[in-house]
C-alpha cells in the first residue's frame, strides 16, 4: 500500500539524501561533544575526498571495491538471500587471483593474464559462496548464519596460508611475494600518461573499469535474462517461482555463486592492482560496507555506483580528517561511517511515513487547488 503513494524520485532520491544528512547531523553533534568544530571537520572531509587529485584517486579506488561488494550483495538480495559473506568471498577470491598471478606472472603481461586472474578469482569466490548456498538450498541452513561463519573460516584459513605457505621466504610479515611488475594492472596514472595527461599517483587502477562493466552486466543479468527473471521471482515470491517451473534450489546456488564471484573481484583491484601481492586482511571491511552500499543504492547498479562514491569519499575523507585533526581519531571516523550505515541501511525506512504524510498533504493541496 505504502509503496504506491510516493513517486520514484522521492523514494530513491530524496529519502536516501535525507538519511545521509541525518547521519551527518548526528555526526556533527558527536564532533561537537569532543570539542571540535563540525563545520571544520566537514571541510576537511570534503577536501580530503575531492579537494585534490590524489584524494580523488583514493576515493575512486575505495569506491571500486565497494561497487564489487555492493553488486555482490545486490544480486543475492534480489533472490531474497542476504549474503553477509562478501568479506570472506572477497578474501578467498583474492587468494585465487594471487595464486593465478604468481603462477603465470613470469610468462605473460597483465593484459594476457587478466582473464585468467578474473576466472580464478571468480571461481574461488564462487566456491566460497557455494557451500553456504548449497546448505541453504538443500539443507535449510540459513545463509545469513553460514556466510557470517564462513567469513571467520576464510579469515583463519588465510592467516594459516599466509603464515605457513604463501609467505615470502626470508621475511617476517605474513604476505606473499610481490607479483611481477609487468603482471600488475596499470594504475590510472599510467593510463592517463598514455594520453599525455599527467595525474597524481594513487592506488586507483583500471579495475575501476572492470567495476563499471560489472554494473552493466549485473543490470543485464537481472532485468534482461531468464536467470535474472528467475532470481527476482524467487526473491519476491518463491512459491510463484515453483509454480512457474523454476528450479529454485539450483537458482539459489547459482545466484550465490555469482554473488561470491562479484565479491571476489575486490581481489583484482587489490591483489592484482593496488597491493600487488596477497596480504593479511587486505579486504579491510569492504565486504561489510558492500551491504550498506547495496541497501542505500536500492540494489540497483546505478544506485550502487552513487552509494559507492559516497562511501569511498567517507573512507578517504575520514582518513584525511583523522590525520588533520588529531583529536578526531580513526575510531571516531568509524563512528561517522557507522552512523551513515545506520541511517541509510538499518533505518532507511524510518523517515518514510513522515515524508509520505508531507507529500500527501502537499499533493492533496495541489489537487484541490487544481479543481
Amino acid at each position: 500500500m505504502s509503496n504506491k503513494t510516493l513517486p520514484t524520485w522521492i523514494d530513491v532520491g530524496v529519502i536516501p539524501l535525507i538519511n545521509v544528512c541525518l547521519a551527518f547531523l548526528v555526526s556533527g553533534f558527536v564532533i561537537l561533544l569532543i570539542g571540535e568544530s563540525p563545520l571544520e571537520a566537514v571541510q576537511y572531509m570534503i577536501t580530503g575526498a575531492f579537494g585534490y587529485a590524489e584524494g580523488i584517486g583514493y576515493t575512486l579506488y575505495y569506491s571500486t571495491n565497494f561497487i564489487f561488494t555492493g553488486l555482490a550483495v545486490a544480486v543475492a538480495f534480489h533472490a531474497g538471500l542476504f549474503n553477509i559473506g562478501g568479506e570472506g568471498q572477497a578474501y578467498i577470491g583474492g587468494l585465487g587471483v594471487g595464486l593465478m598471478c604468481m603462477s603465470l606472472d613470469s610468462f605473460m603481461p597483465w593484459w594476457a593474464l587478466i582473464p585468467f586472474a578474473i576466472a580464478a578469482g571468480a571461481a574461488f569466490g564462487a566456491a566460497w559462496a557455494f557451500i553456504p548456498a548449497y546448505l541453504q538450498a538443500y539443507r535449510g541452513s540459513h545463509v545469513v548464519i553460514t556466510t557470517i561463519m564462513f567469513n571467520f573460516i576464510a579469515s583463519a584459513l588465510m592467516v594459516y596460508l599466509l603464515v605457513n605457505v604463501l609467505i615470502e621466504p626470508g621475511t617476517m610479515s605474513p604476505q606473499s611475494r610481490v607479483i611481477a611488475d609487468a603482471a600488475i594492472l596499470p594504475s590510472m596514472k599510467d593510463v592517463f600518461a598514455v594520453f599525455g595527461v599527467n595525474i597524481a599517483n594513487s592506488p586507483l587502477n583500471i579495475a575501476l573499469f572492470l567495476a563499471l562493466i560489472c554494473c552493466v552486466l549485473v543490470w543485464l543479468l537481472l532485468w534482461h535474462t531468464r536467470l535474472g527473471y528467475a532470481i527476482r521471482m524467487i526473491g519476491f515470491n518463491e512459491q510463484a517461482a515453483v509454480y512457474s517451473g523454476i528450479n529454485t534450489r539450483r537458482t539459489i546456488v547459482i545466484t550465490m555463486c555469482i554473488s561470491g564471484a562479484l565479491a571476489a573481484m575486490v581481489g583484482i583491484n587489490e591483489v592484482m592492482g593496488a597491493q600487488g601481492r596477497v596480504l593479511l586482511d587486505y579486504v579491510a571491511g569492504a565486504g561489510f560496507t558492500g551491504i550498506a552500499v547495496s541497501l542505500m543504492g536500492r540494489n540497483h547498479p546505478v544506485g550502487i555506483i552513487i552509494a559507492s562514491l559516497l562511501f569511498g569519499a567517507l573512507y578517504q575523507g575520514g582518513a584525511e580528517l583523522s590525520f588533520e585533526v588529531p583529536s578526531i581519531t580513526r575510531d571516531l571516523v568509524v563512528v561517522i561511517q557507522g552512523l551513515v550505515i545506520l541511517f541509510c541501511g538499518a533505518l532507511s525506512l524510518m523517515i518514510k511515513p513522515t515524508i509520505e504524510k508531507l507529500f500527501m498533504k502537499f499533493f492533496a493541496a495541489k489537487e484541490s487547488a487544481n479543481v
Binding site: M1, K4, R226, M233, N237, G245, I246
Partner: protein
C-alpha cells in the same frame, strides 16, 4: 421505525447505528463518499458490494481502525467519536472478523476473557468469566464447552467463540465480516439460527457479505454499496438476488452460467491412487483417484483445507508425486518420472492457481512479467542470450486486449490491478495456449461479479473446444452451476461424486462435512 428526526438522547426508537455523511480518502482514492447508513435496533442488516466498494472501510471506521475524514457516527441516538477498537467496544460494538482472532492453544474460556479479565488474579478472572459465559450460552443458545482447546474445535464452533467474545464485552451491535466463507452449508444454517436468536434479544447485527443468497435468507434490510457510495437500501422482503446484483455492478448480470450440456470424450487427466504426506507424516491426500475427460468440467467441492490445494499442487507438478501416479495426456508421472511445473505445461496443462497472490502471480512484478510466468523459457520470449523484452510486452498487450484486462498497461505493477483484472490476466495466460487440460483453483475468489461472468464464459468455451477442465472451488453455487460433474473432498479423500444436475447444497453439504460417511443415507457413491 427509521425515524430520521429523532436525535434526542437514547430513546428506544433511535436506530442502533446512524452514520451520517461519512467520508474517507486514502490519498487520491475516495473509499467512502458521503455514506449514510441507518441500522435499526434489533435487526439484521446486510451490506453487500463488490471488492473495493467501500464496505470494509466503512466497517473499519465504525470499529475504530480508521478515523473518518468527516461525518458523524450516532450510536443508539448518541453522537459518538470512535478512535480505536477500544472505544468501539465501550460503545457496545463488537466485530467478528473474517479471519478469527483466536489463540488456538488457549481454551475457549481463556480466549473469551483475554484482554477483558475482571480481576488481576487469573483464578478470580476465570471464575467470573465462567459464570458470565454460562449465562450468555444459555441466553443466546450458544453452547460451547468452555474448557475445550480452541484449535480443536470445528470452524463453526470457533466462530461461536468469536461471537461469545464480542457478547462478553457487552456488544449490542455485532458486525460480521464475510462470516460464511469457511463454513459448510449446515454450519451456515446454524450461524443463521444464532443470528436470529441474537436479533430476538435485541442485538443488532450487521452482516457484510458478497453472497446474495445469504442476504435474502437472513437479513431484514440490505444496503448496497458501489464505488464508495451507498447506492440503495431495500427491505429484503421486497427485493431479490437479481436486483441486488444489478445494483452492485451497475448493469444486468447473468448469475447462472450459460452452457450447453457436456459431451465427455476420452480421459485426458487421471489421478491414480494419489497419496501425499506432509512433513509431519499426515496424509494430506489419501488414495485419491479421479478422471477428467475431454469436453467436461469436473468440480471439486469441499470446505477449504481438505486436500484440494495439495491435489492441485500434485496435478500441476508443484509437489512431486509420492505415491500413486498422474496420467496427463497419456504420459505417466510418478515417483520414477518426476516432472516439474514447467514440464507439466509442456504436456499441455494450464493451471490457474488457487491463490494468485501466493502462487499465480508476483504482485511486485509488472503485468508483462506476470504474463509469461511458467512460459519464461519459451523461445518466443528469448533471444540467444537475453530475453526479448519487446516480445514479452507485446504478448501481454495481446492478452490484455483479448481478455479485456483493465487498465490496458503491460508495465503497470500487478499489485495495482483490481482482483478481477489480476485473475483475468492469470486466466488469460493459462487459457491462451488452449491447453488440453486446465486446472482452475478458486476461479472467482476476490473477483467482482462483472468479471465472474466473463471468467465462467472463458472456462466453458475452453471445454466446448474439447478440452478437459478441473475446477476447485469453495463456492458451492459456483461448483454447481459451472461444472458438469462434482467430486467432494473431505480430509484428503474423495468422499462422493454426482452429476451437477443431481446436486444440491444439501447433498453436497452433508458430504463436505462427511455426514454422508454412511453411504446408504445419501445414496451417493462414495469411495
Amino acid at each position: 421505525m427509521l425515524s430520521q428526526d429523532n436525535t434526542s438522547q437514547g430513546t428506544d426508537r433511535s436506530p442502533a447505528i446512524d452514520l451520517r455523511k461519512i467520508n474517507k480518502s486514502f490519498g487520491p482514492v475516495k473509499a467512502n463518499k458521503n455514506v449514510d447508513l441507518i441500522v435499526a435496533k434489533g435487526s439484521i442488516h446486510g451490506i453487500v458490494g463488490e471488492n473495493g466498494a467501500g464496505k470494509s472501510t466503512l466497517m473499519s471506521i465504525l470499529y475504530g481502525f480508521y478515523e473518518a475524514d468527516s461525518g458523524e457516527i450516532w450510536v443508539n441516538g448518541k453522537l459518538t467519536s470512535i478512535h480505536s477498537s477500544k472505544d468501539a467496544i465501550a460503545t457496545g460494538i463488537g466485530m467478528v472478523h473474517q479471519h478469527f482472532m483466536l489463540i488456538d492453544t488457549f481454551t475457549v474460556l481463556e480466549n473469551v476473557m483475554l484482554g477483558a479479565e475482571q480481576s488481576s488474579s487469573l483464578k478470580q478472572s476465570k471464575k467470573s468469566a465462567r459464570a458470565e459465559l454460562q449465562r450468555l450460552s444459555v441466553e443466546f443458545g450458544l453452547a460451547v464447552d468452555p474448557d475445550a482447546i480452541t484449535g480443536d474445535l470445528a470452524v463453526g464452533l470457533q466462530q461461536r467463540v468469536e461471537i461469545l467474545k464480542a457478547l462478553y464485552r457487552g456488544a449490542e451491535i455485532l458486525i460480521l465480516d464475510e462470516p460464511t466463507g469457511v463454513l459448510t452449508p449446515q454450519e451456515v444454517q446454524q450461524l443463521f439460527d444464532i443470528l436470529s436468536a441474537l436479533r430476538e434479544r435485541g442485538v443488532s447485527v450487521m452482516l457484510i457479505t458478497h453472497k446474495l443468497q445469504e442476504i435474502i435468507a437472513i437479513t431484514d434490510e440490505v444496503t448496497v454499496m458501489r464505488g464508495g457510495t451507498m447506492v440503495a437500501t431495500r427491505e429484503t422482503a421486497k427485493t431479490n438476488k437479481e436486483e441486488l446484483a444489478e445494483l452492485m455492478v451497475g448493469r444486468k448480470v447473468l448469475l447462472e452460467v450459460d452452457k450447453e450440456s457436456a459431451n465427455p470424450q476420452q480421459v485426458l487427466l487421471e489421478a491414480v491412487n494419489l497419496t501425499l504426506r506432509d512433513s509431519a507424516g499426515v496424509a494430506r491426500l489419501d488414495d485419491v483417484s479421479l478422471q477428467v475427460r475431454a469436453g467436461e468440467i469436473v468440480g471439486i467441492a469441499g470446505v477449504s483445507g481438505n486436500g484440494q490445494t495439495e491435489l492441485l499442487d500434485v496435478l500441476s507438478g508443484i509437489s512431486a508425486v509420492q505415491q500413486g501416479s498422474v496420467v496427463l495426456n497419456g504420459v505417466t508421472i510418478d515417483k520414477d518420472n518426476v516432472l516439474n511445473a514447467k514440464d507439466f505445461r509442456h504436456l499441455s496443462l494450464g493451471h490457474v492457481a488457487e491463490d494468485r497472490h501466493k502462487q499465480g502471480m508476483v504482485t511486485q512484478f509488472s503485468a508483462r512479467e506476470c504474463a509469461i510466468m511458467g512460459f519464461q523459457d519459451e523461445p518466443e520470449f528469448n533471444g540467444r542470450l537475453l530475453m526479448d523484452n519487446a516480445a514479452v510486452t507485446e504478448h501481454c498487450t495481446n492478452l490484455m486486449q483479448q481478455f479485456d484486462v483493465r487498465p490496458n498497461n503491460p508495465h503497470l505493477k500487478a499489485a495495482n490491478f483490481s482482483g478481477g483484472n489480476q485473475q483475468k490476466l492469470c486466466i488469460a495466460r493459462e487459457i491462451e495456449r488452449q491447453p488440453k487440460v486446465l486446472l482452475v483453483g478458486q476461479p472467482t475468489r476476490g473477483v467482482d461479479i462483472g468479471a465472474i461472468e466473463f471468467i465462467h464464459q472463458q472456462i466453458v468455451s475452453l471445454r466446448d473446444a474439447g478440452n478437459a477442465v478441473l475446477v476447485v472451488s469453495v463456492e458451492l453455487e459456483e461448483v454447481m452451476s459451472l461444472c458438469d460433474r462434482i467430486l467432494v473432498m473431505f480430509e484428503g479423500r474423495i468422499v462422493g461424486e454426482m452429476a451437477a444436475v443431481d446436486a444440491d447444497a444439501q447433498k453436497l453439504g452433508l458430504l463436505m462435512g462427511n455426514a454422508g460417511g454412511d453411504d446408504s443415507a445419501t445414496g451417493v457413491a462414495t469411495q
